[in-house]
């Protein structure tokens, strides 16, 4: 065993990178579910975001445009879900699952000619002065911009849901869509917007995998990250900061267990391998011991006539 081989600074830095894709997807899904819609298509939207972002940044040479396109790609797929569930009033669970299957297929079709290509490098921002702080500097202030965007989204979502009128309306729609409708709020419109936001976030999360974390395009490369994000939202009891804790725990322990293995720590590998799932679930279950519960209208279809 040689624990000195593990560099804590690099470990923390890669923890944040590993957590960002699920964080982005989860925070988007959180908004969707708070609006009372269950979209199981996160995985599909992520992978479409991954290929859209990858293709556009390869074609234009700009990772920024790539991320923008990824968000758009995720949102377009989410729009399909919105049409099915909000306009055609289709079953949300079935539509979401179909969206995942469709997204996986569509992405591998779109990605045919992008296998084995290297994307343009996405530069880290060095925040001047701060990034020179010993130890903390490289962890906190020399990451790529999307990682900061993820954190900002968590803070923003929390603030909007808690303190603004828009947030209140969104929650009202999710808790009781009939009451919200009676008050004159456009339930369908609000839900469609939330679904689009969720799609854009999932798309960004997917592109983060294909442009920063791996970086390359491979079919099916999200490999279940969308499902982790979905589970995270539930275990975090639909609260933004808990989603952040969950994502960091999951990403952190994933990276940590690889580090421990490589350093030859004498814990059986099976335990290490299952630890990210176990610890994340445990911590979030303990945290959710308070009375928070799912949005009351979650997964229910709404039509103004009923």
């Amino acid at each position: 065993m040689d624990l000195s081989a593990i560099n804590p600074v690099l470990l923390l830095a890669s923890l944040m990178v590993a957590a960002t894709p699920i964080l982005l997807a989860a925070i988007g899904e959180l908004v969707v579910e708070r609006a009372g819609v269950l979209n199981l298509g996160v995985e599909g939207m992520m992978i479409v975001g991954a290929i859209t972002g990858f293709a556009i940044s390869v074609e234009t040479g700009s990772p920024w445009l790539g991320f923008l396109a990824a968000a758009a790609g995720g949102a377009v797929l989410a729009l399909l879900f919105a049409l099915l569930t909000q306009v055609a009033l289709a079953n949300q669970v079935a539509s979401g699952l179909a969206l995942t299957l469709f997204g996986l297929g569509l992405s591998s079709l779109m990605g045919q000619s992008y296998v084995g290509i290297k994307p343009p490098h996405f530069a880290e921002i060095d925040i001047p002065l701060f990034s020179d702080i010993p130890v903390l500097g490289p962890i906190l202030f020399a990451q790529d911009p999307i990682l900061y965007l993820g954190l900002a989204l968590v803070a923003g979502t929390w603030a909007v849901l808690k303190y603004t009128r828009a947030g209140l309306i969104l929650r009202a729609v999710g808790e009781n869509h009939d009451a919200a409708h009676a008050l004159g709020y456009k339930v369908v419109r609000i839900r469609v917007l939330a679904i689009l936001f969720g799609g854009a976030c999932a798309g960004l999360g997917g592109a983060y995998i294909s442009l920063v974390r791996v970086p390359q395009w491979t079919e099916g490369m999200t490999a279940g990250a969308g499902w982790i994000a979905l589970a995270l939202v539930v275990f975090a009891s639909w609260k933004p900061w808990r989603v952040l804790i969950g994502a960091w725990l999951f990403g952190g322990i994933t990276v940590l267990q690889l580090n421990l293995q490589a350093a030859g720590v004498a814990i059986p590998v099976e335990y290490l391998a299952m630890s990210p799932y176990l610890v994340t679930i445990l911590v979030l279950v303990i945290l959710s011991a308070d009375k928070s519960s799912a949005p009351a209208s979650l997964g229910r279809t709404f039509h103004a006539s009923t």
């Binding site: 890669s14 290297k118 491979t218 079919e219 490589a262 350093a263 099976e270």
Partner: protein, 356 residues
């Protein structure tokens, strides 16, 4: 009236189409990853294409990608058998029990299971001696490493993977006594993000050679990003990462075997067999050793490859001890296939334990 007529015509057409297809041999393929993984599944799909090319209209192939190892595999194969498949290739170790179960239910359908060891009257197993390629890889790795730390991304603790680690280690150690292996188990065949994380972790801990036993090219990309790290193509050539980081590769060449077995089904000569072919038979190929490798190292690696191909050298030749120091092979003794197929121990010098 019109509708009924239309439906009747359609049914008739369908019936005729089915009869027309009946004299075609239908071959199904079950893949563990997507065909675009650039590694393991990609090569199996190349094998499928070779079958299509060889028999043209006489054969119809179907495949299902990203089938998890477990009950889902049983469902997929049952579906294939019900749809009239004559021959089914199940291309991952973890399909073993699913193949056995489905094969019992469909005694007339022939099954071929890759890298497994359970046969039945209608189940053959086939695999390639990847460890021969690992010997060549280990030689290059041992010569090329400067930090003397070689990182190994392992998937599942099964004999197939353990054999590869042992073979690579033995040959790296032979050319470089100071070499050390860091092994990380990721418990997946295909998860690019996780594979990239594993590669990054190993690089951060000082490895400058990354060997992988997972299916995607993600570790190649991670090594390229890190710089000064070399890798080897796994299952497929992965030439898009040459000359650096990818300096060589082990290529699985399934095509000839798939064509031969399909032919056997057509001729009615198919029998249950266990095939384990290596470099000599052409099932394992060593990809072009790139210009990043010095000439003498390249010559040494190619000489080893040729010696294995000629049957003059076996990668597991004594004296070799097991990890705990107990003797395994005496001087000049060669490992038998039975031991190799069930290999569940590290050779002496490798640190760490195999997950049980």
């Amino acid at each position: 009236m019109k509708l009924t007529k239309l439906l009747a015509t359609a049914a008739l057409a369908l019936g005729m189409a089915t009869t027309a297809m009946a004299d075609k041999t239908k071959v199904g393929f079950v893949y563990v990853g997507p065909v675009g993984d650039g590694g393991w599944t990609y090569e199996h799909d190349q094998g499928r294409k070779a079958v299509v090319e060889a028999f043209g209209d006489k054969v119809e192939t179907v495949y299902v990608e990203s089938v998890p190892e477990g009950p889902d595999a049983e469902r997929v194969m049952t579906q294939m058998a019900l749809n009239g498949a004559d021959l089914i290739f199940a291309t991952s170790f973890g399909y073993m029990d699913a193949v056995q179960n489905v094969a019992k239910k469909f005694p007339k359908v022939k099954f071929e299971h890759a890298t497994g060891y359970k046969t039945a009257p209608n189940v053959s197993v086939y695999s390639a001696r990847f460890y021969e390629g690992r010997a060549v890889q280990g030689t290059i790795a041992g010569r090329m490493t400067k930090s003397n730390i070689i990182g190994y991304i392992a998937s599942f603790p099964i004999p197939e993977v353990i054999r590869g680690i042992n073979s690579a280690y033995i040959h790296a150690k032979k050319v470089n006594p100071d070499v050390e292996f860091k092994i990380v188990w990721v418990y997946t065949w295909f998860d690019p993000a996780k594979e990239a994380d594993a590669a990054k972790t190993l690089i951060e801990q000082g490895a400058d050679v990354i060997l992988q036993h997972t299916d995607s090219t993600a570790p190649q990309a991670a090594a390229q990003k890190a710089g000064n790290v070399i890798t080897f193509g796994q299952a497929s050539d992965m030439a898009e990462y040459a000359p650096l980081p990818r300096v060589s590769s082990i290529i699985d060449n399934w095509g000839p075997y798939y064509v031969r077995r399909t032919k056997a089904v057509m001729d009615g000569t198919w029998e249950s067999v266990s095939t384990w072919d290596g470099i000599r038979e052409g099932m394992v190929k060593i990809g072009e050793i790139s210009s990043a490798v010095p000439g003498d190292v390249k010559a040494e690696a190619e000489a080893l490859r040729d010696a294995i191909a000629a049957g003059e050298y076996h990668p597991f030749t004594g004296p070799l001890n097991k990890q705990d120091g107990t003797p395994w092979l005496k001087e000049g003794e060669v490992a038998d296939d039975g031991t190799l197929l069930g290999m569940n121990f590290y050779v002496e010098g490798i640190e760490g334990e195999i997950p049980q």
